[in-house]
Symmetry: C3
Subunit: 141 residues, 3 copies
């Protein structure tokens, strides 16, 4: 039988740029979902943030932030800023990390490799943001 389950997380960051480790929360939602075999979709409901899969190692997390700043820098000259906004770089950084991610669910659990962890990447924080988590798949026979 098909089963779906949706939750919305609220994430508040102290910093404008911040990476938030989400794996335990996603694992809990998958457990509650009743989905035995399927997919788990995780996405910010905002366009200045992203969800990505990578290492939970603090040095690498800093490297990712510095690297994103190099390829999608904060800069006053973006055309988007003529609307009064100052966060065009946050939109570009969200695009580099591709905004949303999909995760596999097998035997009722996230089916990740040993080092795969799920992160929320905030690029325009210091206010509450929402993340949608939707689990979809088959129940146990």
């Amino acid at each position: 039988m098909i089963k779906t389950h949706t939750e919305y997380l609220t994430i508040e960051t102290r910093e404008r740029y911040e990476m938030v480790h989400l794996t335990p929360k996603i694992e809990e939602i998958v457990r509650k979902s009743g989905v035995w075999d399927g997919l788990c979709f995780v996405s910010p409901m905002h366009i200045t943030a992203a969800v990505y899969v990578n290492d939970n190692e603090s040095g690498l997390i800093e490297d990712i932030g510095e690297w994103l700043e190099k390829i999608a820098p904060r800069w006053p000259g973006y055309k988007h800023h003529q609307t009064g906004e100052d966060n065009a770089d946050a939109h570009l950084k969200s695009l580099v990390l591709h905004h949303e991610t999909t995760l596999p669910v097998t035997r009722g659990k996230l089916d990740l490799g040993m080092w795969q962890r799920v992160f929320y990447a905030e690029f325009d924080g210091q206010r509450p943001k929402r993340v949608i988590v939707k689990v979809l798949g088959a129940t146990e026979q």
Copy 2:
């Protein structure tokens, strides 16, 4: 009950590089699909285009185009051009925006945040291109 629904859009652009706003068309397909809770997959069937989620603000759309040109520039020296092609940059730009996107469907509608809009990004246009939209999920009980 599981339900699936697939449509193919044809997109023609006047320009080689062009962003086309797709949200109303995708919303209509989701409505027709009969899916109450699930996922909507949207992807070009070409490798010189991409589908992405971001802001429908004309300044930002220009910023995205100029930024992509910086990190994946048009340039005669790509090895791919030895085959007679001249569009290697379009392949790279498609990779930056990651080609395809997945969207959540809740209560029969696209479940997007206030500013999230779906765009087709063309990098080698001026000819008809196809986009596949596949909605998959559970019907209303």
Copy 3:
């Protein structure tokens, strides 16, 4: 009726950086899955590799590698390397290509455009790595 099918591929590369064409293997898994209409999720179970969709043209494949090296270079100075690792660039390259991909399945087959091919991109190879392939959808009526 909903149907799911999961397989794990093992990929071994001779080189540290290598692109491996996966389309025939994915097509075979879709055929075996019994899914008539749905989605096929393909992802490395590692965070130094990615799965992407693009052209099977050797010049372009070289272009992609050289371009990734420009925007996410191998470099000793990453903070991640203070842990004893030397592969921070592989994590960044995986992020550019966005790690995982989703493919449409229609009438029991991958529903790809004429030039769309699925690749595994290894950035820290010379050892066995796993790729998860999960097919999910409706059976034929």
